[in-house]
């Protein structure tokens, strides 16, 4: 059940006994009380041992221009087609922008959806909500991120959290709305484990994962010993679900802190420098590498925020003027970083035999205006953009949907955010008709009734 299958990576036994695993992985699942779990099983929503599927969601905050990336319009007028040229890929049916030469070698592995659209306000935050939770937040109902719904439904596989968010949560993007990166109405117990650090910096470490410096292994062990003595008095608290959840959290946290598997998974220095360089020594590149390590170690869902904010950071948000990004900024900094990190991730997952089981979904909140603006940039455009899927059952080398001559609107197979999230759920093997416990105990469908995954991808 918990076989790490990566080629070349040796799984050492770190003292997690089978009994421990059963407790943590199946029943002691964080935040999932026995009653809830039994209920889910009764509903068929949590078939035991049903899956090995995982997902890495790369969220391209800022929103890349479809026309300057994966849906080029070389025959359109100059103010539409922009400054870049298409190049051929290893798939005769797909041409992409010259900024992504490494992508071009992998066009048999990923598939593009060139007809994604949404109809909400053209601010970043709404797209973040919809693309990650499948819904726009309305009436005070904050729907859970896909990875949090997964964690709620399936729990964790081992001492590592089910859902990890890298490198930190989305910050301000202008709308002052929630971004849909937490568990919403499912409750904080299902929020992702947030790294809150830049994995590319020297001496990178997970905050609070390790005890303070002065607490060495001996003191840690003593603390545990002392706590066992102290807590022995209230052993019978276990009858209270909340107390046993606290217990579970303590043992999970302790296991996480002391787990060789977890420490090693988060320890990027264990990778040969050559591998680290292949991903790129950038925040994004190292997040991709960390994501691969975490999936390998048993994490079910990793969300990577390519960027954190659109203000004073060079991002995909190419309005062309300050504090946003210029086309040159995208060309020189953003695209090479992205090309390198993404292609390294895909290759690595493939070589390790993980790609079949791991969907890599590259999403963004919207596209950009077909017409280049007066600052030489492009503005927000939710009417049509391109997203990219690979692995986890997705057949590579396909193009789903089609935009019009200037990349302004879908002309074939329009795809909306609920369908995108349903596609992720399908890859993860979730029953789309499952219900979550919504606000005020109202049953809340995992996806709205009738929402279908993008079948053409599978």
């Amino acid at each position: 059940m918990l076989k790490i299958t990566g080629k070349g990576s040796v799984t050492t036994c770190d003292g997690v006994t089978r009994r421990d695993f059963l407790q943590v992985g199946v029943l002691g699942t964080i935040g999932l009380s026995l009653a809830k779990f039994a209920e889910l099983q009764a509903m068929g929503a949590a078939a035991p041992g049903s899956d090995e599927r995982s997902c890495i969601m790369i969220f391209n905050l800022g929103a890349p221009s479809q026309i300057d990336t994966f849906d080029m319009k070389p025959d359109a007028a100059a103010e539409i087609r922009g400054p870049f040229k298409p190049i051929r890929t290893n798939n005769p049916d797909i041409q992409i922008c010259e900024m992504f030469p490494l992508h071009a070698k992998l066009a048999d592995k990923f598939s593009l959806v060139r007809s994604c659209y949404h109809t909400a306000a053209a601010v970043h935050d709404t797209g973040h909500q919809m693309m990650q939770t499948g819904r726009l937040f309305t009436g005070g109902v904050n729907t859970p991120h896909a990875g949090c719904a997964l964690e709620f439904l399936k729990g964790r596989r081992n001492e590592l959290p089910a859902h990890v968010l890298l490198p930190m949560p989305m910050g301000p993007t202008g709308g002052n709305m929630p971004h849909g990166q937490d568990a919403g109405f499912l409750g904080k117990a299902y929020d992702p484990f947030v790294l809150n650090a830049d994995p590319s910096v020297k001496n990178f470490q997970v905050p609070d994962l390790l005890p303070p410096k002065e607490i060495g292994e001996a003191r840690l062990e003593r603390r545990r010993e002392l706590r066992d003595v102290v807590d022995d008095a209230v052993r019978d608290f276990e009858a209270s679900p909340n107390a046993s959840l606290m217990d579970t959290n303590f043992s999970s946290a302790y296991r996480l802190m002391t787990s060789t598997r977890a420490r090693q998974a988060f320890d990027l220095t264990r990778e040969p420098q050559k591998v680290r360089d292949r991903y790129g020594m950038t925040r994004f590149g190292q997040s991709c590498l960390l994501a691969r390590r975490l999936i390998e170690a048993g994490v079910r869902f990793v969300t990577i925020n390519t960027f954190i904010t659109v203000f004073d950071e060079i991002t995909w948000d190419i309005h062309g003027s300050k504090p946003f990004t210029s086309i040159a900024g995208m060309k020189e900094i953003v695209a090479p970083m992205y090309d390198q990190g993404y292609s390294a991730l895909l290759e690595d997952l493939f070589q390790r035999g993980l790609l079949d089981k791991t969907m890599v979904a590259c999403l963004s909140e919207f596209g950009r205006t077909p017409k280049v603006n007066s600052a030489g940039g492009r503005d927000h455009w939710p009417n049509c953009w391109t997203i990219c899927f690979a692995g986890g059952g997705v057949k590579g080398g396909r193009v789903v949907g089609k935009s019009d001559d200037i990349g302004a609107y879908p002309v074939e197979r329009p795809v909306n955010p609920p369908e995108v999230v349903a596609t992720i759920f399908k890859s993860l093997g979730l029953d789309l008709e499952t219900h979550l416990p919504g606000p005020q105990s109202r049953p809340f469908p995992l996806v709205d009734y009738g929402t279908q995954p993008i079948k053409e991808l599978f």
Binding site: I30, G31, A35, A38, E39, L40, M43, G139, G140, P161, G187, K188, A189, D191, D208, L209, L210, P211, P212, E214, I215, R219, R222, R223, E225, L226, R227, V229, V230, D231, A233, V234, D236, F237, A239, S240, N242, A243, L245, M246, D247, N249, F250, S252, A253, Y254, L256, M257, E433, H435, L436, P437, Q440, S441, R442, P443, P445, D448, Y449, G450
Partner: protein, 733 residues
């Protein structure tokens, strides 16, 4: 909790095939003509056509929109008979009507098959169409009563029972509507119910089944006593202090759950301090209480606690949570004015009805009369009426804003009658920063969108006021709301107070009072509500009754026979301290206070406790992580009591505890400088954190570990860490 609603919706098919008798019964009941209102709509509702996930969605489904669960008869009738070029009903050839072809999947239907062509539902719809699809009429009989039989029943796990639902109409007609009722099990661990009202008992305890039909609700209670060998004398002999014990024991007896014995003095002193005033007793207070030989010492402690200054901090904070005192919409001066108003009333022990009346009917300057900020935080008649219902009646009426409440009796009309009571409140800005003036005018009404005109103002289920009356409508609202005759008002506050002391409300969630969500002990809730009303809404009188009751003073240690009980108060349920109380407790035990900064960089005075904050602006990773509410919406759900791994990592490795333990003014430094032995240090630590003496075994084991360490300070720090991160500390028990 996951409801089985979907399965009910999606799994419906072919019921009448197996229930031929029912078809016969329905035939016998067949009126002269099928009525749209009373026959067609129930078919659409039971078949799930007008469910929220299907055509009842706000945007409809595939171009066909019905009102949610059929609250808008006229609109639905038009949608069925006039839209889609009339293809939905075809009176000349009923079988070719889309409303029959689709649900039988004779033509493709995204929603799948809803009924068979030989079902009673098909028969009703087709005959209604053949009769020319008569519209809803004003003269239609209206449903007056919905009943379910049996109303309550005693069963064992594995057993089942078939429920029957009966509707009575205004023309005297009585109909068996079991087939069209929608059933829901409120407690899925005890009972399951299927589409036909067939109940299966799957566990011990009590489970309510709700039936919904034509916007009416009926409830049946299924009791499955635990199979314990408990002598009846145990219940008759159990000590009783007041009515709470009588009724709690009656319930326990009916379920065959034995109560745990009384808690120890040490458990009581810690528990009562935390629940009543939100602080731990000091070491001194604990020693004094434990040494006190008087028989009446618990009663005396209760009186002391009810009159402590920290009582005012604690309950002001609670009511500030409820009233959303926050700097998000209020300027700092207004925050203080609102908070000080609340504090003043808590200090004066203002009766709850007067407190609420003042909030609702307030006028004037927000800086002079803090309660007026209620009308700054909520400035729309709809939000005001929703907030008032949620805060003071524990009732969410928001659903009825757009459609009849699916789980309650409230209709869209009643929603707009209620909201119209707030339509004449106005606000103008004052001279000073944060100053506003709240006043009322004598004209203006809120238009109900569905009808296109205002509803006469009326408190939910009372008679309307005259539209042209110039009086402040809010006075009529307050008269109705806080009246001892309004069961919701006293029940709502009783449930909040109860949940504060017992951790689990008689109704759960605490602010979700509705017919479809019955109390775990209805008699007890009614009695407590009555008690509070008789005591003129003096909250301290209710708190005293609770604190004095044997039910509150039970041990938290479960007996094998009551371990499974989580709703009937056979023992005290341990629960995590609320974020603010926990942080204050950590400060208290370590002797190192927590500095609180506002986001703008300004500081709260040194030494202030988290429970003394007027709002939730203090920047604190700890408080956020442990679930401090945002105070953005009136809902108990804002406060999150769930333990999480982030919390544990913070306790273990984060700054909160570790930094205090290392601090120079930490209590540990004092022990290091003194000649205290490890045993004495252990005793101090236990008394301050757990309000009890350590056992011999604990003393020995802990002292051994401490003495084994060459670095004494580090070892004592580690012991304090173990204590502060232990369940015995983090939980009230």
């Amino acid at each position: 909790m996951l409801r089985r609603t979907t399965r009910l919706l999606l799994g419906f098919a072919a019921i009448c095939l197996v229930a031929a008798a029912e078809c016969g019964a329905a035939d016998a009941q067949k009126p002269v003509q099928w009525s749209f209102r009373n026959d067609v709509q129930p078919v659409l509702a039971k078949s799930g056509c007008n469910a929220g996930a299907c055509h009842g969605a706000a945007a409809g489904q595939n171009g066909f929109k019905l009102s949610l669960r059929g609250y808008d008869n006229e609109g639905d009738y038009l949608a069925l008979t006039r839209q889609a070029f009339g293809r939905r009903v075809n009176p000349t050839d009923p079988a070719r009507s889309l409303m029959l072809l689709k649900p039988t999947t004779a033509v493709p239907h995204k929603g799948g098959k809803r009924f068979e062509t030989n079902s009673i539902d098909y028969k009703i719809l087709s005959e209604w169409i053949a009769e020319g699809a008569p519209p809803p009429r004003d003269s239609d009989p209206r449903i007056q009563k919905l009943e379910m039989f049996p109303e309550s029943v005693l069963l064992e796990p594995g057993q089942g029972i078939k429920l029957t639902v009966r509707a009575t109409f205004s023309d005297g007609g009585v109909k068996d509507v079991t087939h069209w009722a929608k059933f829901t099990a409120a407690n899925a661990t005890v009972t399951q119910v299927d589409d036909d009202g067939q109940v299966k008992v799957i566990g011990n305890g009590e489970g309510a089944i709700t039936a919904w039909y034509l916007s009416r609700i009926a409830v049946a209670t299924i009791t499955a006593p635990f199979t314990n060998q408990v002598s009846p004398r145990l219940f008759s002999r159990a000590p009783r202090r007041n009515f709470i014990d009588d009724m709690a024991l009656e319930k326990l007896r009916s379920l065959n759950i034995p109560p745990s014995p009384r808690c120890t003095d040490a458990e009581f002193v810690r528990r009562a301090f935390i629940d009543t005033i939100g602080v731990l007793p000091t070491e001194e207070e604990t020693r004094r209480f434990l040494a006190d030989k008087s028989k009446r010492k618990r009663d005396r402690l209760i009186e002391t606690l009810l009159n402590r200054p920290e009582f005012v901090d604690y309950w002001s904070y609670k009511w500030s949570d409820l009233l959303l005192v926050s700097d998000k919409k209020l300027r700092p001066a207004a925050v203080w004015s609102y908070y000080d108003w609340i504090r003043g009333n808590v200090a004066a022990n203002t009766p709850w009805d007067k407190f609420v009346r003042q909030v609702l009917t307030v006028t004037g300057d927000t800086l002079q009369n803090g309660a007026a900020n209620f009308y700054i935080l909520h400035d729309d008649p709809r939000t005001l009426s929703e907030t008032a219902s949620q805060a003071f009646l524990g009732m969410s009426i928001a659903c009825a804003k757009c459609h009849n409440h699916p789980l309650e009796k409230w209709t869209n009309d009643q929603y707009y009658q209620m909201a119209n009571l707030f339509a004449r409140v106005r606000v103008k800005s004052g001279q000073r920063d944060g100053e506003n003036i709240v006043f009322t005018v004598t004209d203006g009404d809120l238009v109900q969108p569905l009808r296109g005109k205002p509803q006469p103002p009326a408190p939910l289920d009372s008679p309307p006021l005259r539209m042209d009356s110039p009086e402040d409508r809010r006075i009529a609202l307050a008269n109705w709301l806080v009246s001892p005759d309004n069961p919701y008002f006293s029940r709502a506050i009783v449930n909040r107070i109860w949940a504060n002391f017992f951790g689990v409300g008689l109704v759960e969630k605490v602010d979700d009072l509705r017919a479809t969500n019955p109390a775990s002990n209805e008699k007890l809730l009614s009695a407590a509500a009555n008690y509070l009303a008789v005591h003129k809404f003096d909250l301290k009188s209710l708190m005293r009754a609770i604190l004095q009751s044997e039910t509150y003073q039970r041990s938290s240690k479960p007996l094998p026979e009551n371990e499974a009980d989580t709703r009937f108060y056979s023992r005290y349920y341990p629960r995590r301290l609320m974020a603010e109380v926990m942080l204050d407790a950590i400060s208290r035990v370590t002797g190192v206070s927590t500095p609180f900064d506002r986001p703008d960089g300004s500081k709260f005075p040194a030494g202030w406790r988290a429970m003394q904050m007027p709002d939730v602006s203090a920047d604190s990773y700890f408080l956020k992580t442990f679930g401090r509410p945002e105070r953005a919406t009136t809902c108990e759900c804002e406060r999150n009591a769930d333990p999480s791994m982030t919390q544990v990592l913070d306790l273990s490795n984060g700054d909160t505890i570790n930094k205090k333990l290392r601090a120079r003014d930490c209590r540990i430094s004092r022990w290091m400088q003194s000649s205290a032995t490890p045993d004495q240090i252990i005793e101090h630590a236990y008394l301050s954190a757990f309000s009890r003496f350590p056992t011999k075994d604990e003393r020995a084991k802990l002292a051994k570990i401490i003495q084994a360490s060459p670095d004494r300070r580090a070892a004592v720090e580690d012991m304090y860490w173990a204590i502060l991160s232990s369940k015995e500390f983090l939980f009230n028990h």
